[in-house]
Amino acid sequence: MTTGVGITVTGQATGLFPALSLPLRAGAWTCLLGPSGVGKTTLLRLIADLPAHVDFSGDITAEDDQPLPGRIAYMAQSALLLPWASVLDNVTLGAKLRGNRADRDRALNLLSRVGLADHAHKKPAALSGGQRQRVALVRTLMEDRPVVLLDEPFSALDAKTRAEMQELAMELLQGRTVLLVTHDPSEAARVGHAIHVLSETGLESVAPPNAPAPRAVDDPETLTATGALYSKLRGAA
């Protein structure tokens, strides 16, 4: 099992967010919450070494001092499945893009773990939105990276599917360092081992509920935390 590595982001982006320090604890889920346009996704893209079109000065370092590129997997709000490729070809895309042999057995095994064994040879158009995100999750797992960056991957799903996806992702990504960017306070309250709210004034850390994640949606403690996050967001906006 791949274990996560801790990461610290320190720095500022001119015109977007002031000086901040965001720790991603090894093996834990860190939720980055905030209104649209404050730079959550930008922060994630900076960690992923993707073009962020922003003037960032600062450092992104891993606690083992090894370089980050090649140790990160990425999952976005859109499943980003290639419509012309089968589910199996989509989840083994990374190997193909690196010129490696695709581990089809592992792919099929993971697909059956998310309940999509029968869909391996279908095209994405034949799947529902929730199924597509499960395929994207398997593709992320196939990368087998210690750090996983999730950019609102569940926000386009209906409430029931979203809750199921949160649980499935927490189960399958166990042990890895996860950054979840979200605008949904109840999602952060459910899955966050650490929760940070980003606003124009900076980053604010909020204590997560005590219960182990994923927490029940209707647990009083989760609900209280959700409420507190809501007020924070409204204050921040």
């Binding site: 193909k96 893009l97 690196r98």
Partner: protein
């Protein structure tokens, strides 16, 4: 099916107008032959028309094949190399400013009266639409795919092969549909300027001998062939794109 029925209705309407003109104006048959006479000539001269049609079909087919091939290669070159873009794009734009018609006499001078000059003509006329459609597609790869590929550690070449080219196939399909419309035009222009075979040549020949009925027959056959080509390419592209994603 509705399209077929509409097409049939439109053809009937045109035929009716044509016949109406004949009744009202009763022009001499070397000015405007009646539909019945043209149909009769078409049937009587079917061997002659068929022989020339075959040549034109051959030219159009070769032109389509090579024009598409060159267009695909050029688009990939342009999409992958900024140097090629700065150098080739102005040349391409300039070449389009010259009407391809104007080149026909030069091509005939250089390449002779045979098939080659017509094929080159067809290639030239479809090269630009195919190149530009496919190039646009290659430059419009959804950003999310590229982000994903980058985090996966992909090389540019593999991104091109596994993501950008397949993602641009629908654009190439639009280019092909345009090419199917243009290719017959190119071949026939080539035949007009100088040829001893082909439907374009047959039209000129019939016109010169005041065999207007034969000229009409050749025009109608050319029109039907061009239409069939477009319908076939359109259906093929649509079907392929649909099957690819299901």
């Amino acid at each position: 099916m509705t399209r077929l029925r509409n097409g049939f209705a439109a053809a009937l309407l045109l035929l009716a107008i044509w016949q109406g003109l004949i009744w009202v104006l009763s022009p001499p048959k070397f000015i405007l032959p009646s539909p019945a006479l043209v149909a009769e000539t078409m049937w009587k001269s079917r061997a002659l028309i068929g022989e020339h049609a075959l040549i034109t079909i051959y030219e159009v087919g070769l032109g389509l094949f090579f024009g598409t091939l060159f267009g695909i290669v050029t688009a990939i070159q342009l999409a992958t190399s900024p140097a090629a873009r700065t150098l080739l794009r102005p040349i391409l734009a300039f070449s389009q400013a010259i009407p391809v018609f104007a080149l026909a006499p030069i091509l005939t001078l250089w390449l002779g009266y045979g098939m080659l000059s017509k094929v080159v003509m067809a290639v030239l006329i479809i090269y630009f639409p195919v190149t530009s459609a496919f190039f646009d597609g290659l430059m419009r790869t959804p950003a999310g795919y590229l982000d994903l590929a980058r985090t996966m550690g992909a090389t540019n070449r593999r991104i091109l092969w596994h993501i950008r080219i397949p993602a641009a196939v629908p654009s190439l399909g639009s280019g092909l549909k345009l090419a199917a419309v243009y290719a017959p035009i190119g071949a026939v222009i080539g035949e007009w300027v100088g040829a001893s075979k082909g439907l374009g040549y047959l039209m000129l020949l019939a016109n010169g001998r005041a065999k207007t009925d034969l000229m009409f027959a050749a025009v109608l056959v050319l029109g039907a062939l061009s239409m069939a080509l477009y319908i076939a390419v359109d259906a093929g592209v649509t079907r392929y794109l649909k099957r690819r994603e299901s």
